[in-house]
Symmetry: C2
Subunit: 293 residues, 2 copies
């Protein structure tokens, strides 16, 4: 039996509709729409595309976005200065520093400049620490992991008590997803490139989140029948039949996985639309918190 | 075959000997020994005992310790003021706030006052976030988890690629141990009270760290034969045969576990002596970093 597809697009549309309503209400009360400040350093084509996509999504829901586009050869001080200018701007409620930064920039120092109450990407170490700790709450939860959790919840299955395997332990996806699943009372196994016998680990997991950036790495035969599979990967692979000569595939071999899984996301159209939606949602939240109580 | 005992006492003694040498060298150079500032609020007997033990350990290696003992009814401002006074005191290199604080004190706010470079307990959210993140380093790693890692390393077995199960997800033990094991490239499963079929999870684990505070909860039959078992629990149970009427047991049923495990710690005499040693070691590190380069 084929898995049910968890389609991120209608979920994202529904949430963006709610955000649009909240933005309009905020703008009426505050006299202006919430603002997202974006810092982009250098001329990496993919980064520029991501920034354009995020700004277009802001437009769709009525958020203002401002971009500071700095040349590749910018100094550490110039990058941090752009962040601080957004920190001090009351019309900017959320700040996004598009990664990766050029090699000569200290990423940690630049990101640490972001005010905690404007860290809508949720990747400040203080926010990640709070995310993992009992009895602490981060200012914001990071966008992609929050989208992953929303898609798991779309299945209606209980997370509490479920066995979950997270493949990958990046700062922006794997680590926070593992912490959020543990917070939701799943029994979480953190898997990575040094994990031995991954099929054995996955074979016991009710929930699998793949976030390793290896095209079609996870095979259907490795999965526990009926599992929920969330594919965060987005890898371009050569495709002579496509007009562009390439296409995007996930970290999961979709065709074999869909026959084993109970629920599965597609790439594209799964986690991707949720990531941007959660960034919009966090920016809206930041603006609401900035209103006088 | 019975497990080999991992005895924390000689390991702690050896490390304390090294710290004593470093303290003497520092004192000769800096004109005074490194200082640990301890904040104790209220008159909880166990907390007072822990503080005495830590201060005695400081004495043994030549560290200075200063205690601010505040009454239970102290205000938030008074507790934070005591922390700030230590922050501003150049003769104090490490700060320890003994937990738990009285109910009316906001623990998070009080702990966040500790300067990151004096957070020798390593429990500031910023330090825990950095501990989990790739490419980031905490100022200090928390004492008990660092002791757990040192005892695992005493076995000489590889952590990389091993399957590890951490039972418990507290801010000061379970969570940071899981992050440190993942950083050491183990495949880590975070288990807790909502975990279903714990024996099945433990049965595949090469390393088990028990930190749940439930006396003799983990049974030998649940373990993978030959596993490394680190017992962080320290639970007092009634014992009519003892002079005091009680004795301390761990979270692991020692007698059944020792026949299954390859290596096992005892309670007391396992993790306990390491915790204090790591606090001393972090205080010494803080002092060394305070010296002009």
């Amino acid at each position: 039996m084929a898995a049910e597809i968890i389609d991120g697009r209608p979920v994202a549309r529904r949430m963006q509709e709610e955000i649009r309503t909240a933005v309009a209400a905020y703008a009426a009360q505050a006299g202006g729409a919430p603002g997202l400040g974006v810092v982009l350093v250098g001329d990496d084509a993919a980064s520029a595309m991501y920034v354009r996509m995020k700004r277009r999504a802001c437009d769709r829901v009525g958020l203002r976005s401002e971009a500071r586009i700095l040349p590749t050869e910018s100094t550490q001080g110039e990058v941090e200065g752009a962040v601080r200018a957004f920190n001090n701007d009351p019309a900017i409620h959320g700040i996004l520093v598009q990664l990766p930064l050029p090699e000569h920039i200290d990423e940690e120092a630049a990101l640490n400049e972001i005010s905690l109450n404007k860290d809508v990407d949720g990747i400040h170490p203080m926010n990640l620490g709070r995310l993992g700790m009992r009895g602490r709450e981060p200012s914001f939860t990071p966008a992609t992991p929050t989208g992953v959790m929303a898609l798991i919840r779309e299945t209606g299955r209980a997370i509490e008590g479920a066995r979950a395997a997270v493949i990958g332990r990046s700062n922006i996806v794997g680590l926070p997803v593992a912490l959020m699943l543990a917070n939701a009372n799943a029994t979480v196994t953190i898997c990575h490139s040094r994990t031995r016998d991954l099929p054995n680990v996955l074979g016991r997991a009710d929930i699998v989140v793949a976030a390793i950036g290896r095209p079609e790495f996870v095979k259907g035969a490795w999965l526990k029948p009926g599992a929920i599979v969330i594919d965060v990967g987005s890898n371009s692979v050569p495709d002579p039949e496509s007009e562009k000569g390439y296409r995007y595939v996930g970290d999961v071999e979709f065709e074999s996985a869909r026959t084993a899984a109970g629920y599965i996301t597609k790439v594209p159209g799964g986690v991707g639309p949720m990531t941007i939606t959660m960034l919009l949602s966090n920016t809206m939240k930041a603006a609401e918190r900035s209103l006088p109580a």
